[in-house]
């Protein structure tokens, strides 16, 4: 299937500072694509180039199967990193305006906006000014503004910032609805745990470079062969000194272990029994966080 969005080796520098030093990614139709990485990794810079807000120094951006043109932007819904709303406008006026600049007619818009406000439980706030809303509510208003014109591609920069878990769940449902219509969502986040729940494709960015890119399940499967969960008592810190262990995270007496690809699980267990009282040891899918740390280390 032809990707909805394709970024080919895009680079962007500001003076001596390299914001994006070669990012490639490919977003298939019907997917929720996570652009992941710590703060300052180059996520927003990449998104701004996709949206034609800044121009890349080199590289190519293709959407809907061809090099991006100005008109393509109208088929994209974009949610900038925080704010992005007129503070003094009422929620209703704001959303009608955002629909109208996409060429929608007021008559169709009003019921559509009302339906959306109902869905995100903001109906009673329709006549309030944006500045009177909490950050989470503003984020919901902004998301509605992004999807009103039913774009084929959604690009959301940090959509979960300022949202409580209940609203995060609401966003997840909305995005999954969106995907089920065969449309794609690209979202950026620095929350790995969140991305793991939301996304089916990911691109990991670190220091302006993509270090990992692909289907989340596949990435996990590839990385997963040598991940284990260990329940044990004793000197857990000593695990980190074992040559077979690549990574060990201890949490509440539970250890997440990632062994070197060539290491054998049974072998390692035999050694551990020597200094630990092992109660449970089982093979497990690694967490994204672990995969990410490993990828960053490998890239360095």
């Amino acid at each position: 299937m032809e990707p909805i969005l394709e970024v080919r080796d895009v680079r962007k520098s500001y003076g001596d500072f390299v914001a994006v030093g070669g990012v490639s990614m490919s977003v298939p139709p019907g997917s929720i694509f996570g652009l992941l990485g710590p703060n300052g990794a180059g996520k927003t810079s990449t998104i701004r180039m996709i949206m034609n807000i800044t121009a890349p120094d080199t590289g190519e951006i293709r959407v809907f199967g061809h090099p991006r043109t100005g008109d393509d932007l109208r088929r994209i819904g974009y949610l900038p990193e925080e704010r992005g709303l007129y503070r003094k406008m009422t929620v209703m006026d704001q959303l009608l305006f955002l629909g109208e600049i996409r060429g929608l007619k007021r008559a169709q818009l009003v019921p559509e906006v009302e339906r959306w406000l109902e869905r995100v439980e903001l109906t009673s706030w329709a006549k309030k000014k944006v500045e009177e809303l909490s950050k989470g509510m503003q984020q919901k208003v902004q998301l509605i503004g992004t999807v009103l014109h039913k774009p084929d591609l959604l690009i959301l920069d940090e959509p979960f910032s300022g949202l409580d878990p209940i609203n995060q769940e609401l966003f997840r449902e909305l995005l999954q609805d969106y995907r089920s219509q065969g449309k794609s969502v690209v979202l950026s986040t620095h929350g790995m745990e969140l991305a793991e729940r939301m996304c089916d494709h990911i691109c990991l960015i670190s220091n302006g470079r993509a270090v990992l890119d692909g289907e989340l399940r596949e990435i996990k499967r590839r990385a997963g062969g040598n991940s284990f969960r260990l329940l044990a008592e004793g000197d857990l810190e000593r695990l980190k000194t074992m040559p077979e262990v690549e990574q060990a995270t201890v949490q509440n007496g539970e250890v997440k272990l990632m062994l070197r690809p060539d290491a054998d699980g049974a072998d390692a267990l035999r050694q551990m029994v020597g200094f630990l009282k092992v109660r449970e040891f089982r093979s497990e899918e690694p967490e994204l966080e672990q995969i990410f740390m490993k990828a960053v280390r490998d890239a360095a």
């Binding site: 701004r48 034609n52 932007l73 900038p80 109208e100 600049i101 503004g145």
Partner: protein, 445 residues
């Protein structure tokens, strides 16, 4: 350029501002303020008629005190005979007693043997509130000695002015008599000559000297304020969109040029709405019937009427003036990240708006001087200088036409350059750009 996109932006800009309470407060408060400031002082003065009881000690021995008493009585009856004339203008001595701001009840006293005791006694009467003041007319008053006025309050300038007028009148007569001249004859011979300005029909638009000048200045100030206020609004509007990142969403839907034009046209319409209300108020206020009853203008001064020709020119000049400056403000707003940074550069633009203020007087005095004509043809000054000239005297058609052509070309050029700066600037964040960098933006393809 898609017009429907421009219209959506225009509609938002216009409605958001028109729905704002602050807009209506400012729009209605300014005419109200101006009307109050022009009529209230006159009204207050009219109502603040004072009455003083004064003791006059006449040390001249020539009956100045008695003559003053008679003069004051004469003035009082003259004022009572003409109660319908409300003009509060201060009259020159001898010009007639109508609408005096003070009248007096006078008690005369001969100087006592001990003048110090008499003075002390009079002072105590003032302190006791029995009289308001006492006046000492010294021996040399008929020569050039000043007359003393002793009162609790010596800042009552209008009251003193009335008294001084009466005293002067009395003393002048006596001096004339002393010199063997007939005062009545003298008055007749030394009467002021009145100058009655009559405009040659078909040469101008204003109705009279002073009124025409006030009229021109009012029109000038209205345009000046509108252009300044709404030009700045364009700048703050652009900065808001930049600061809230709304701009990034807008630019994904419409082009920067559509956005800029929609914003300029929308805010221009808001300015025209306001200007329309102000000019409408002026039309009503200067309607002949109303002026007679409302405005307390001295007789002989009539306000010029706002003709259709003047109104049409004003509106056109406002639009041109607005675009000449607002495009600049849009480019400045787009180039910087916050109000503080932008304001420093915007103050440069203000210089061009303020410059015409400094030549108001010479232009009003001679609207056809080389300086006035030249300035009214320079595009950045045309929108402010031309209204001044039009209000005084309609300039020749070729000058108007030339001014419009020049300004229109200038505005077109401004839109072209500023749109280019705007397009690049609105998406620039971070470092404050130098003027050189901004200039470079205009040459990006």
């Amino acid at each position: 350029m898609r017009l429907e996109n421009v219209f959506v932006i225009l509609k938002r800009e216009y409605l958001q501002r028109i729905r704002n309470k602050g807009f209506w407060i400012a729009t209605l408060a300014i005419p109200l303020f101006v009307a109050t400031m022009t009529t209230l002082p006159s009204l207050l003065l009219l109502k603040s008629h004072t009455h003083q009881t004064i003791v006059v000690v006449d040390a001249t021995g020539r009956g100045v005190g008695e003559a003053l008493k008679a003069q004051v009585e004469k003035a009082k009856t003259a004022a009572a005979a003409k109660p319908a004339e409300p003009a509060p203008r201060r009259k020159a001595p001898g010009e007639g007693g109508e609408s005096r701001l003070a009248d007096f009840a006078i008690e005369t006293q001969a100087p006592a043997a001990d003048p110090q005791a008499q003075r002390r006694q009079l002072d105590s009467r003032v302190r006791g509130g029995k009289i308001d003041a006492w006046v000492w007319i010294g021996q040399g008053a008929l020569a050039d000695e000043a007359v003393e006025y002793h009162a609790r309050n010596t800042t009552n300038l209008f009251t003193q002015d009335a008294l001084r007028g009466d005293l002067t009148e009395v003393v002048r007569r006596m001096r004339l008599q002393q010199a063997g001249l007939d005062p009545a004859r003298m008055e007749e011979l030394t009467k002021r000559v009145e100058l009655n300005p009559v405009q040659v029909p078909g040469t101008g638009t204003s109705g009279g000297g002073l009124a025409g000048m006030i009229f021109a200045i009012v029109l000038f100030l209205l345009l000046y304020m509108s252009i300044l206020i709404w030009g700045q609004q364009v700048m703050t509007g652009v900065l808001e969109e930049k600061g809230t990142r709304v701009i990034e969403v807008l630019i994904s839907a419409i082009t920067p040029f559509e956005l800029m034009m929609g914003k300029l046209l929308g805010i221009c319409l808001v300015g025209m709405t306001q200007l329309g209300i102000w000019l409408g108020t002026l039309v009503v206020l200067t309607a002949p019937g109303l002026v007679a009853t409302l405005a307390f203008l001295p007789p002989g001064l009539k306000l010029p009427a706002l003709t259709f020709g003047i109104l049409a020119n004003l509106v056109l000049l406002f639009i041109l003036g607005f675009f000449a400056y607002a495009t600049l403000y849009a480019a400045i707003g787009a180039s910087f990240n916050n109000l503080q940074e932008a304001q420093q550069v915007a103050s440069v633009a203000v210089v061009f708006i303020v410059a015409p203020v400094m030549v108001i007087n010479p232009i009003i005095n001679d609207p056809n001087s080389t300086m006035a004509v030249t300035m009214s043809l320079i595009p950045l000054f045309t929108p402010l200088v031309m209204p001044l000239r039009i209000a005084i005297e309609m300039p020749p058609a070729w000058q108007l036409a030339l001014a419009y052509v020049l300004t229109l070309s200038f505005v077109a050029g401004m839109i072209w350059i500023c749109a280019r700066i705007y397009r690049v600037g609105i998406l620039m964040y971070g470092k404050k750009p130098t003027l050189k960098e901004i200039w470079k933006w205009t040459r990006y393809a």
